[in-house]
Amino acid sequence: MFEFLNQPEVIKIIVTIGSMALFFVGLFGLLTRKHIIKIFMSIAIMESSLFLFFIGLTFNTNFIAPILDNTHVNISNMNDPIPHAMILTAIVIGMAVLALGVSFAIEYYKLTGKTNIDEMNEMKH
């Protein structure tokens, strides 16, 4: 009964809908949550949804992972390694920026005791 799910087009549709739903959750969290750590979490969710969307749309079900073992399997049925390289770099960059943002939030909390993004207005007065 679930055979029709295995066709590549159906998988691409499932991946698009699923990752856009995750993007929606992240965007919703970004727009409505007030706590600074929650906002960083929503950004992390948005990022991982994009990575799933990107790899999900560029992979071919009946190709193998881009790792040649020493039997020199022919290169024609291998998945495209460039998206993997890009996502690998983007995950590490996303984590580095989040770590820095969290350290700003910690230092700001130590000085002012605020974690709610709406209360953060040192400049208004």
Binding site: L30, I36, I39, I43, M46, E47, L50, F53, F54, L57, T58, I82, P83, M86, T89, A90, I93, A96, V97, L98, L100, G101, F104, A105, E107, Y108, L111, T112, M120, N121, E122, M123
Partner: protein
Amino acid sequence: MSSILFVALPLLFGFATPILSKFGKDGVAYTSMLMQVFLLYLAFDLLSSADFHVEIISIAPPLGISFVLNKASLFLVALFTFLITLFSLYYLSHRKTDAYENETKFFILSNMLLASSIGLVLSSDIFNIYVFFEIAGISTYILSAYKKTPSALEAGLKYLLTGAVASIFLVFAVALIYINVGSLNLAVISQSFEALPYNIKVLISILLLIGFGFKVEIFPLNFWVTDVYQGSSALVNALFSGIIVKAYLFVFFHILYLFLPSGEFSVFLVYLGAVSMLVAEIAGLKQTNLKRLFAYSSLGQVALVFTAFAMQNKEGIQAALFIVLAHSIAKFIIFFALTSIEKEHKSIHIETLKELNSPFLRAIMLIAMFSLLGIPLFAGFVGKFLALKSFAVEGMFVIMMIIVIGSLIESVYYFKLAGYMFIKGKKREVLNIGSMQKVVFVLLAFLLIFIGIAPFIVSNFLGDSANILLDAKSYSDMMGGV
């Protein structure tokens, strides 16, 4: 010497700081100053020898990453290196009294900012542009939160949040481009971008506009700019408005000209730029904090450059590049002066300008303000004149009118400030400026006047770079006829 050194050397010095700091307390400061002077020599050597070529990194273009050296990008590389060298020169003399406590990090960050803005300008690979987008972003976040006061930390936090959201939209655009085009090289994408379905083209353009819009400070997306300027120190504001915004502006329009040579969305962008200039100028009227006031003036000028770039014709781009040159130099003078005022008088309220007791600084600030205003005989005038001419040539009189109104509003608060300069009233104690700082101020002011009086030496060079930017065909031929 290859142009990769612009990125490799700052990274090398950044990674090697623990070794450099073994050579005495000023080891890092003087070595990084030396390196910046060498990069300046390299930039002018490349510019004068005019060997415009593609610099290959690890493998040849369409597959590999490469730096494209042409007139437009080398002009910006030379401008950025020149400004960063003056920035370090000013900081070296400024720090005698007000050094940052861990100063080596300050030098690493300003070097990384230089490397990433040059990488943004030269790179020919869209994911590589994203990586430099992040390096530039992350070093500006730390620079803005450097003083660790509550307002500086809030500025850094807001800057980081908008930067993270901007990079999400940029990754989405890069992902969509790779899924539909199959390559990351700008030349290959620009050739097959026309053939994409219309919806996808619109979606990718919108995502790129939002992604770069935050950083290019366009109207709906520049809510965070004035808080960041007010929170961070005036010295770092010079870097923000002088170097990093110009790099993002150049990359956004470089990509736009390559992807949409026919200029489908240029009318919308022109109106967006004009509106954001008007809004920025109006908002700037009632400001009393000097840093916030000059932040709004930067927003206005950057929006004018955005409008001129969005015209997508030779005159528009020539005017935009001219304003980039004039605005960066003038803003460096203004923010350096604000740093000295802030250090001495501890307050940057508008009234402190009345009591400023340094005729030298008042004269220099007057020159910078006249140039920003567009008074003839100063560099700013030539830029604004060329911009207005390009709007008139295209027959966009509504835009011309909006820009003229914006400039009038801007002149209201600039004349108010200039008036404060001549008021005789109570003066504070004399503000003494270091000799090295005086050299930097005089050099920048001389440049403003010299370019203002003799614009022809620069304008035909900028005219050729405008043509090169518009010509997507020659870009892909340079990339090896991809």
